[in-house]
């Protein structure tokens, strides 16, 4: 079963606009990761969040982790065509047997219109 829900599934924004992508887990989060994928290519690591309330930024992208809500958000400020792609959230989910599975959401497809 899919344990990470991403919303929205797709997003079309005009260049210069801000946008937010959400990722919600049905299980306890031990680590939350954001990746970007260009169509047909591999995954590019963006940020990792491990502590409740943690917030990280890189250039115009900011990610926050709300541990109590088991939710993370990715915010892009003043979007550019280079931000277009698929954004994937991933999380370490405990298996109950002392190990962890790195599972992913279905992704959010972002298009930025010039």
């Amino acid at each position: 079963s899919q344990e990470l829900e991403q919303s929205p599934q797709s997003l079309i924004v005009q260049e210069g606009k801000n946008l937010t992508i959400n990722c919600t887990s049905s299980k306890t989060l031990y680590g939350l990761y954001w990746y970007k994928q260009k169509y047909g290519e591999g995954l590019i690591f963006l940020m990792m969040l491990q502590k409740g309330g943690e917030e990280k930024s890189h250039e115009k992208i900011t990610a926050k982790l709300d541990e109590k809500k088991q939710q993370s958000s990715l915010h892009i400020t003043a979007s550019q065509p280079s931000h277009a792609g698929i954004y994937l959230c991933g999380a370490d989910v405990g298996t109950g047997a002392g190990s962890y599975q790195l599972t992913f959401g279905k992704g959010t497809k972002l298009s930025v219109i010039p």
């Binding site: 990792m48 491990q50 991933g90 370490d92 599975q101 599972t103 992913f104 497809k109």
Partner: protein, 115 residues
């Protein structure tokens, strides 16, 4: 460092054929993973390994087998290929230590078509 290396990049298989997707990492990571990505979808975990000699099933293990005889290598075996296995396959690795996990490093993917 090479990171995570996957081979081949592309492959076409006939129904019923078998093949092995190779994955190697040179970062001394203990965790390794295999995912498949279908069009328009996220990554689904096939198998993962927490260290040499230890493997476990993910969400979609049927039709696949893995082994982890060394820390570096984590091959994925497809037996009796079926059209439903047409997908892009990604291998990844990470390091779980006392401070938790590092980010996962991904290979460039293998695009497999079963006809």
């Amino acid at each position: 460092n090479a990171g995570v290396t996957q081979t081949p990049k592309f492959r076409i298989l006939k129904i019923g054929q078998s093949m092995t997707l190779q994955c190697a990492q040179d970062m001394n990571h203990n965790y390794m993973y295999w995912y498949r990505q279908d069009p328009g979808m996220g990554l689904k975990l096939i198998y993962y390994s927490v260290g040499a000699g230890i493997t476990d099933k993910g969400e979609v293990p049927n039709g696949y087998n893995v082994s982890r005889s060394t820390t570096e290598d984590f091959p994925l075996r497809l037996e009796l290929a079926a059209p439903s296995q047409t997908s892009v396959y990604f291998c990844a690795s990470s390091y779980w230590g006392g401070q938790g996990n590092t980010e996962a490093f991904f290979g460039q993917g293998t695009r497999l078509t079963v006809v």
